[in-house]
Symmetry: C2
Subunit: 399 residues, 2 copies
């Protein structure tokens, strides 16, 4: 199937309106998808922000008319006041758009444990409601409004053909793993589409895509109290099928890569492909262990083709394999080189393999392939380097 990348973010889907406004450290983004079929994947953290609790209920209805998202305050650990504020965001959005407040999903990201500056957020919601449009600019404003320490807005949109021949689209925005101290990395993503599906069909497709992409993205391993992915469909194109699932996977993977590139303090991003694992779970474990290893992450920062740390991370991941049969390949736009082959180290001093490996590790985007030679399952994880700036950003005291 051919998947074509197009402009427009969430507004690539016909009939979707978006807007975003920002004032200082607070931003509000709106997406309007009247009576859209919807599904979501919410944080599995036991500590959940109030908007997460509210949106979970809204999604139970399988239908949303709008999404309102703010940056600057996570509305987490704010108790009953926090729930009042989340409900208020939904109500003000509903009034401005003339939709049912019970069909408004609410998302927040920012500082935790502090009451929402609700008046400011309300005025931003009203301001955004006046600027709603179906245009690439509108989606861009939305993507910018929900940024926290992100350094660039994140949008993807694709067009593809369903099995029946109908043209369908998926559009998306996301905010990545920026931190608003004293908070943790929060990821939000909103996805629109026009494929015809029930809420449970959307949920199943979303769950699979999230599992292979966002759930395989590791910036620092801390899971936020506010993470949220919501997908809404106008249902105006053909029936949901495997082509849709594939295209959704591509969209989520692109967003995950952008978030890896924009990880806090990151100077480089990398992808870990674990192949020929005994089970899918083994492949996922090994890929995540390598992408999450502080030692691998600092080696990438230091441009050190450190096969030892890669192999050792696979070793403690819980995946089954024979160390004497493992192979490791590094790849970038500068080329590709095997540094370990069936347990033999190839990249040592004086060998051309080491030189090439060092050149590759100097690049901004690196792909590490680990062949466990233990089966036929594979998985991919996404990560970024661990840098002085990560420490600086996260060690600085917040006020």
């Amino acid at each position: 199937m051919k998947i074509r990348f197009i402009e427009g973010g969430v507004c690539a889907v016909d009939g979707v309106l978006a807007a975003g406004c920002r004032e200082g450290k607070y931003g509000v983004g709106l997406i309007v998808t009247r009576k859209a079929t919807a599904a979501g994947v919410l944080t599995s953290n036991r500590v959940r922000a109030e908007p997460v609790k509210l949106t979970e209920k809204v999604l139970e209805g399988g239908r949303i008319s709008a999404i309102v998202a703010n940056s600057g305050n996570a509305n987490c650990f704010t108790g009953r006041d926090g729930m009042d504020d989340a409900l208020r965001m939904a109500r003000v959005t509903a009034e401005s758009l003339q939709v049912d407040a019970g069909e408004v999903a609410v998302a927040s990201t920012g500082v935790i444990g502090r009451r929402m500056p609700i008046r400011k957020i309300e005025s931003l919601i009203r301001m955004a409601a006046d600027q709603l449009e179906n245009s690439p600019e509108a989606s861009g404003n939305l993507a910018s409004a929900i940024m926290t320490t992100d350094t660039f807005p994140k949008e993807v949109a694709v067009e593809f053909q369903l099995e029946g021949g109908e043209t369908a689209r998926i559009g998306a925005v996301a905010k990545g793993s920026g931190m608003i101290a004293p908070n943790m990395a929060t990821m939000l993503s909103f996805i629109t589409t026009d494929v015809d599906a029930s809420p449970s069909e959307l949920r199943e497709a979303l769950r699979r895509a999230v599992d292979d992409t966002f759930n395989m993205l590791i910036v620092d391993g801390d899971e936020s109290t506010n993470d949220m992915v919501i997908m809404a469909s106008t249902c105006k194109s053909g029936r949901i099928d495997e082509n849709f699932t594939e295209a959704l996977g591509v969209v989520c993977r692109e967003l995950a890569r952008m978030m890896a590139r924009d990880g806090e303090g990151a100077t480089k991003s990398f992808q870990v492909d674990v192949v020929n694992a005994r089970t899918r779970e083994d492949a996922r474990r090994a890929a995540r262990a390598i992408a999450g290893s502080s030692l691998v992450k600092t080696a990438i920062f230091g441009a050190d083709p450190n096969w030892g740390r890669i192999v050792a991370a696979a070793g403690y991941s819980g995946a089954e394999f024979d160390p004497d049969r493992i192979s490791v390949t590094l790849e970038s736009e500068n080329g590709s080189v095997g540094i370990v082959e069936e347990g033999d180290v190839l990249a040592f001093e004086g060998k051309p393999e080491l030189e090439l490996a060092e050149r590759i590790m100097g690049d901004d985007e690196i792909r590490i392939t680990v062949d466990l030679n233990a089966g036929s399952e594979s998985a991919t994880a996404y990560g970024c380097d661990l840098t002085y700036d990560y420490v600086r950003i996260n060690a600085e005291y917040t006020t």
Copy 2:
């Protein structure tokens, strides 16, 4: 029971001889405990160094006469040559000491994937064999010889009374989570005692102590291919009992604390006590998640009393609890302060709690107590801050 800290490290136990020599980046330590009853806990990493494989076999006999340990080369990922070198270390040690080579445990730490400089190591073994003594200095030399990027040698010894009234001793040395790139944090610990026990009794006691201490120590979450704890007993005192188990726990806890203090690039160490968890496993999970969180570790570096990161780490740990009932207390020699009480945040701007919390977080040794209010089980984890120096040490290229 009263446990008295004494001098002497492994040599606090009568009849134990020790020595240590160093030449440049290579060091060799020897412990001689003729026909001692022995047990060990070895790395669970699937990638295991050759000396780990050899020592596993030696320990199956339940008896060791000597331990030989080298720093500077981990003898890992070195294949058949590596096993030859490990066997050679055992043989040279056995010849020098006139003991059975099958009763010599071998440990290595340092760079991985490179052949051992076996001639140099052999000459260091012979040199050390000539300096064997039962003295505090000898144990100190041993502790120094096995250091890699450790900044101080680590020794503990205690004296206590068994239930039957006999005086017993436990002595120990350790090397901590220093890294010799391109390697990972390796921890080695050698423990001597005079309690009368079978190998399986020793193993059971050691397993319990390791589980509560070394296995709860997190520097960067990477598990080494070379980790090894060996305990050897002369069996000259009374029978093993609960007093011994308690004393062994104290010894291992002290070593774990020293290793946390000496974590790579660390400026501070901290302890996380999770109390009133539903299950022991819940308590362990939450304590480890908090101690291992990059966000908590950078907050400690930045002296930021960031309750949000602590609570969120507990939230994603998998432990069951109600966020509205969680309490968090910070403590140091400067005092103690509750920053979250049954879900209410106490340490916010303008409150004296915040000021005191900031002062406490400025100290070198911090204790974080998290009360989950969900049961009666507890666990403790040990950690250190994540600093610029951690990144520098681990990002620098090795040659």
